[in-house]
C-alpha cells in the first residue's frame, strides 16, 4: 500500500495538483539511469596458410562517471568487479591480455588486436593518484584474484615506465608518462581457469549469444589463443563533447585445420567450435557475424559489406543474429565454406620483426632484433621498446643499429639502466626504417649469477625475457576512416585513427629463453655424504693409529675359582 500512495502522488505532481514537497523516498524508475549498451561480434577470416582466424569482440559502453564522489552502485551490463577496480584505483585505462602461442606475422598477416605471449598488463592512472607504485601493486593483486592468474608476480623487477610508447588509446590530452606502468609475464599460461572468470564478466555469460562458442576444449586446441580486457574512455559521438566508458573483451584464436585432422580445405562453425549459434544475446543491441570473403569472391550470400581495416579494404559477408530469419527453420546457424587452391598472393605485411639470442656459453651473449620494412618506396618511423630483466647485464656501449649495412642513428633514445634485484633495463628508440630493408639492433649482455634462493623450482628450463614492442604508423594502401562513429564494426575501431594515409600498428617479437649459470641443486646432499664418509674413514683411521693402545686382559675365571680366590684372600695367600 506504500507503493500505491507514492505512485499517485507522483502523477498528481506532474499534473500540477500536488502542492507538497517531493516525498522522502524517491521512486527509482523516475530517475533516468545512465545508459549502457552491449554489442558483440565475431569475425572469421580464412588465412592464406590454411588456418582460420576467429576474433570475438564484446563491447559494453556506459555513460557514467566512476570518479565522482558518491559511488556508483547500480550496475547493469558493466561488470561490477571491474567497475569497482576502476573507481578504487583511479584507473584511466587498463589493458590486460593473456596469450598462448606466438602470432606469426609473415604467415597470418596482422591481427586485429595484437598481444605478446604470456600475460601483459599496462595501465594509465588518473592524475589524482599520489603514489602510483603502491596503487600498481595493489591493482595487480586484485586482478590476480579476478582472473585467477599469478599476476601478483608483477613487481618492481619486471615493471617499467615507458617514456614514449603506449600512449593512451582512449580520450586524453595529458601524456605525463609517470602515470603509466607496463609489465609482462612471459611465463604465464592461459587455460580454462582464466577463461571461466573472463566469461563471467559478460552480460549474458556463456549462455546466449556469441559466447556459447567459447568452449575451452576447442579454443585451447589451437595454434594461437589470446583473451584480453580493454577499458578506456571513448567519445560518445562524432562531436566528442561527452565521454563514456568502454569495456572491450576480445578473444583471438587461430585454428589449424591440418592439426585437427581435416585435410580438405573446408571448415564450418561446428567443426571449429563444436557448437552452432542459436540466438543472439538478448541484452545486446547488435550481434553480428562477419566472414571475410575478399579472397573467395564466388561466395554467394545476401548481405555484403565493406570495411577498411589494417590498411586494406576487405569485403565481408554479414549475418545479423538479432534477426530471426538468420537462423532459418532449424533455429540454428552453422556456416560452411569450402575453398579451392591458394589463389593469389597474400598482402605482405609491411612491418615484421624477429628477435633471437646469439652467442655461446653461459657467460655472455648478444640480443639481435630484426625489423623488416617491406614497403617498396616509403620509409616510416618505428618506436622500439625493450625491457630486459636485471640478470642480463646489457652493455649499452655495444648497442648498434644498422640498416642495409650502414649505421642508422635513432632520432630518440631513452635508456634506464637496471638496478640489481630492483628494476629492469628499459630501452626505447625511435628508428626510421628505410624502404625495403632490414634493420638490425644488437646489444651484448653478460649473465649474472643469482643467489641460490632466487632460482625457481625448475631452473634448467631457462629464464624468459619479455617480448619487444614495436609501435609504428604504417602507410596504408587505402584511405583510412578517421570518423569515429559508433556504427563502425568493432574490429575496425580499436585503434584511433588520426590521419587517412597511415594506420597505427603494434607488433610483438618472440620472447627469449636464456639459460643462466645454474648450480646443481642435488650437489649439496651428495657432497655432504661423500665428504663425511671420507672424513670419517680417513681421520678416524689416523686417530686410531695415533691414540689406540693395547692392554692385556685376563679372561674371566670360572665361579669355583672365584670362590677359591676369595677364601685365599681371606687367608692372606696369593690368588690362583
Amino acid at each position: 500500500c506504500v507503493c500505491a500512495c507514492v505512485c499517485v502522488c507522483a502523477c498528481a505532481c506532474e499534473s500540477g495538483l500536488c502542492g507538497t514537497s517531493a516525498p522522502e523516498t524517491v521512486v527509482p524508475s523516475s530517475v533516468p539511469q545512465p545508459k549502457d549498451d552491449f554489442q558483440e561480434e565475431l569475425v572469421i577470416r580464412p588465412l592464406h596458410s590454411g588456418d582460420i582466424y576467429a576474433s570475438f569482440q564484446f563491447r559494453t559502453l556506459w555513460d557514467t562517471d566512476f570518479m565522482r564522489e558518491n559511488k556508483v552502485s547500480h550496475y547493469r551490463l558493466f561488470p561490477k568487479s571491474l567497475g569497482q577496480v576502476i573507481s578504487k584505483f583511479s584507473v584511466r585505462e587498463l589493458h590486460i591480455s593473456f596469450t598462448q602461442g606466438y602470432w606469426r606475422t609473415m604467415q597470418w598477416g596482422q591481427p586485429f588486436i595484437p598481444s605478446p605471449p604470456g600475460a601483459e598488463l599496462w595501465v594509465w592512472f588518473q592524475d589524482s593518484v599520489t603514489d602510483v607504485d603502491a596503487t600498481w601493486k595493489e591493482l595487480t593483486n586484485v586482478l590476480s584474484g579476478i582472473f585467477c592468474a599469478s599476476l601478483n608476480f608483477i613487481d618492481s623487477t619486471n615493471t617499467v615506465q615507458p617514456s614514449a610508447s603506449f600512449k593512451p588509446l582512449g580520450i586524453g590530452n595529458v601524456t605525463d608518462h609517470s602515470f603509466l606502468r607496463y609489465a609482462t609475464l612471459p611465463r604465464e599460461i592461459v587455460c580454462t581457469e582464466n577463461l571461466t572468470p573472463w566469461k563471467k564478466l559478460l552480460p549474458c555469460g556463456s549462455k546466449a549469444g556469441l559466447a556459447v562458442l567459447l568452449k575451452s576444449e576447442k579454443l585451447f586446441h589451437s595454434s594461437f589463443h589470446s583473451q584480453a580486457v580493454h577499458i578506456r574512455s571513448v567519445c560518445q559521438d562524432w562531436q566528442c563533447k561527452t565521454t563514456s566508458w568502454e569495456l572491450r573483451q576480445t578473444v583471438n584464436s587461430v585454428f589449424d585445420l591440418h592439426n585437427s585432422g581435416q585435410a580438405k580445405r573446408e571448415w564450418s562453425l561446428f567443426k571449429m567450435f563444436s557448437r552452432t549459434l542459436t540466438e543472439a544475446c538478448p541484452l545486446a543491441s547488435s550481434s553480428k557475424l562477419y566472414i571475410d570473403i575478399t579472397d573467395n569472391p564466388q561466395v554467394s550470400t545476401s548481405l555484403l559489406s565493406q570495411a577498411v581495416v589494417l590498411g586494406d579494404r576487405r569485403t565481408f559477408s554479414v549475418y545479423d543474429l538479432t534477426q530471426e530469419t538468420t537462423f532459418g527453420s532449424v533455429r540454428s546457424l552453422n556456416l560452411l565454406i569450402r575453398w579451392k587452391s591458394n589463389e593469389g598472393e597474400m598482402l605482405r605485411p609491411l612491418l615484421h620483426a624477429e628477435r633471437y639470442v646469439a652467442g655461446y656459453g653461459l657467460q655472455t651473449g648478444e640480443i639481435h632484433t630484426l625489423m623488416y620494412n617491406n614497403h617498396p618506396y616509403r620509409s616510416f618511423p618505428v618506436l622500439l621498446l625493450d625491457s630486459v630483466p636485471w640478470y642480463l647485464r646489457l652493455y649499452i656501449h655495444t648497442l648498434s643499429v644498422t640498416s642495409k649495412g650502414k649505421d642508422n642513428k635513432p632520432s630518440y633514445i631513452h635508456y634506464e639502466p637496471s638496478k640489481d634485484r630492483v628494476k629492469p633495463h628499459l630501452l626505447e628508440m625511435l628508428i626510421q626504417l628505410p624502404p625495403n630493408s632490414v634493420t638490425e639492433v644488437t646489444v651484448q649482455f653478460e649473465r649474472a649469477l643469482l643467489k641460490w634462493t632466487e632460482y625457481p623450482p625448475d631452473p634448467n628450463h631457462g629464464f624468459y625475457v619479455g617480448s619487444s614492442v614495436i609501435s609504428s604508423l604504417v602507410p596504408s594502401t587505402v584511405a583510412m576512416d578517421t570518423n569515429s562513429t559508433r556504427e563502425r564494426p568493432l574490429f575496425s575501431s580499436f585503434f584511433p585513427c588520426k590521419e587517412e594515409s597511415s594506420y597505427f600498428v603494434r607488433i610483438y617479437t618472440e620472447p627469449l629463453l636464456v639459460n643462466l649459470p645454474t648450480p646443481d641443486f642435488s650437489m649439496p646432499y651428495n657432497v655432504i655424504c661423500l665428504t663425511c664418509t671420507v672424513v670419517a674413514v680417513g681421520y678416524g683411521s689416523l686417530y686410531n693409529l695415533l691414540t689406540r693402545s693395547f692392554q692385556i686382559e685376563e679372561p674371566n675365571p670360572g665361579l669355583a675359582k672365584r670362590i677359591a680366590n676369595v677364601i685365599r684372600k681371606m687367608r692372606g695367600v696369593p690368588p690362583l
Binding site: 584474484g145 590530452n173 571461466t196 585451447f220 586446441h221 623450482p457 569515429s484 585503434f495 588520426k498
Partner: protein
C-alpha cells in the same frame, strides 16, 4: 517429557493471566530445541583447501587427484568462493597434453575432472610452503584478494587435502622445499587457537602418508592417509595416449566412493575409512580419530565434503530500515560550453624527438674566461712591473 512436567508445575504455581504467556514461551523453546536437534553438528559453513604440490608432466596424477576431489566437493555444494585450490603445475594446457584443456582420471577418458568451470586460486610458482601456511593461519599480506584467502570462522568445517611426493615426516613442495609434520601440526594448533575451524578433516595421498598426521595435537581433527609409514602409495594405471599415470589408487577409489554421494545422503565416516582396502590399494590406508570429539559413525560425509545451508528460526519481528534515497542526476545545462575531447596521438614523432633536449657541446661559462685572462694579466704585471706595459702596447 521433562519440559511437559515443568509446564505442569508452572501451571499450578503461577496466577492465571500470565499462564498463557508462559505456556506459549515454553512451547516456542521446545520447538527451537527440536529444531536444534535436527541440525546435529555445530558447523555453519564449509571450506576446502585442496593442494597439489608436484611439478612436471610426469606428476600428472597428482593434479588429477586434486581436481577429482575439487569436482566432488563442488558437486556436493561447496561454492568456488569457499574453495582454495592450489595446483603447482598446469597439466591441462601443458604442451605435452594431447587433449588440451582436459585432465582425465581414467584411461577410458569418460570423466574430465578439469571441466569447464574451474577456478584455480594458487597456481604454478605460487604454491609454496610459505603460501600454504599463510593461507591456513590467515596471515596474508593486506592486498591479497578474497579468493586467495581462507576466511573461516569458529563454526567452519574445513576439508584439507594434500597430495604429492612425501616421505617419513615430510611432504615435498615442487621439488625444491618440504613441509614437515611438526610444522603442519603447529599450523593446525595456530588455527585452533585463533578459532579458525570447528572441525577439520585432513586427507593426504602420498607415500608414507600416515607420518604426516602422527604429530597432530589440536582437538577436533580427523585424519586419513593413503599409506602407513614404510609403505609407498601406488598409482593406478598409465594411459598410453597421454603417456603418464593418470591417478593414484587411493584417490581413484575415493572418487568412485564419492560419486555415489549426493547432498542428502547419510553415509558416515566409517564408510570412508573402508575405502580402498589393501587388496585394491596395495598399501594400507590409515586414519586417526582420537583427537575428534564426536564418534566417526555419527559424522556425515557431507559434513566435510558438502555444504551446509543453515536455517535459523526466529520468532522476533525485525524492523527494516528506510529505503536508500537515489541520488538526483544534475540536469544537463545545454548552454554550457563543454570542452571537446580528442584521442591521443599514438606516435607523435616530432613530440617524441623533442622530448629530450638536444645535446649541446659544453662550453665553460662566459665570466670564467674573462676572469681567467684578468688573473693572468694581473700576475704578469705584478711580477714584471708596470714599466713593461709600453713594450706590450
Amino acid at each position: 517429557m521433562l519440559a511437559l512436567l515443568m509446564l505442569n508445575i508452572l501451571a499450578y504455581m503461577t496466577p492465571n493471566p500470565d499462564k498463557t504467556q508462559i505456556i506459549i514461551h515454553l512451547l516456542s523453546v521446545i520447538s527451537q530445541n527440536s529444531a536444534g536437534q535436527f541440525f546435529s553438528s555445530g558447523h555453519t559453513n564449509n571450506w576446502a583447501v585442496l593442494v597439489c604440490t608436484s611439478r612436471f608432466w610426469f606428476n600428472y596424477r597428482h593434479v588429477a587427484n586434486t581436481l577429482s576431489v575439487y569436482r566432488s566437493v563442488k558437486r556436493l555444494g561447496i561454492p568456488d568462493s569457499h574453495i582454495v585450490l592450489m595446483l603447482a603445475d598446469d597439466m591441462a594446457c601443458n604442451h605435452r597434453n594431447p587433449k588440451p584443456a582436459t585432465v582425465f582420471s581414467h584411461k577410458n577418458m569418460e570423466l574430465n575432472v578439469y571441466g569447464d568451470d574451474v577456478e584455480v586460486d594458487y597456481r604454478g610458482y605460487e604454491v609454496t610452503v610459505e603460501n600454504f601456511l599463510r593461507v591456513l593461519t590467515g596471515r596474508l599480506p593486506p592486498s591479497t584478494p578474497r579468493s586467495k584467502r581462507l576466511l573461516s570462522d569458529d563454526r567452519s568445517n574445513i576439508l584439507i587435502y594434500l597430495t604429492g611426493h612425501g616421505g617419513n615426516g615430510f611432504l615435498k613442495f615442487q621439488d625444491s622445499e618440504e613441509i614437515s609434520n611438526v610444522e603442519l601440526a603447529d599450523a593446525f594448533e595456530q588455527m585452533w587457537q585463533k578459532r579458525r575451524y570447528n572441525e577439520l578433516l585432513f586427507i593426504i595421498d602420498t607415500c608414507q602418508g600416515a607420518s604426516m598426521y602422527e604429530r597432530f595435537y589440536s582437538p577436533n581433527i580427523m585424519a586419513l592417509a593413503s599409506s602407513q609409514v614404510g609403505e609407498d602409495s601406488l598409482s593406478h594405471q598409465p594411459d598410453l595416449a597421454i603417456g603418464v599415470h593418470l591417478m593414484d589408487r587411493y584417490t581413484f577409489y575415493m572418487l568412485e566412493f564419492l560419486e555415489d554421494i549426493h547432498p542428502a545422503s547419510k553415509t558416515n565416516m566409517n564408510d570412508l575409512f573402508k575405502v580402498c582396502p589393501k587388496s585394491q590399494c596395495v598399501s594400507t590406508p590409515g586414519h586417526r580419530t582420537d583427537l575428534f570429539l564426536r564418534d566417526p559413525g555419527s559424522v556425515l560425509i557431507t559434513d566435510f565434503f558438502g555444504s551446509v545451508r543453515k536455517v535459523e528460526l526466529t520468532m522476533d519481528a525485525i524492523n527494516l530500515t528506510d529505503p536508500i534515497k537515489q541520488m538526483e542526476e544534475n540536469p544537463v545545462n545545454g548552454e554550457e560550453q563543454k570542452e571537446v575531447y580528442s584521442y591521443a596521438d599514438q606516435l607523435p614523432v616530432s613530440e617524441i624527438i623533442h622530448q629530450k633536449p638536444k645535446q649541446k657541446d659544453w662550453h665553460p661559462p662566459d665570466g670564467f674566461i674573462l676572469g681567467l685572462w684578468t688573473l693572468i694579466l694581473l700576475v704578469f704585471f705584478k711580477t714584471y712591473g708596470i714599466k713593461h706595459l709600453k713594450h706590450i702596447f
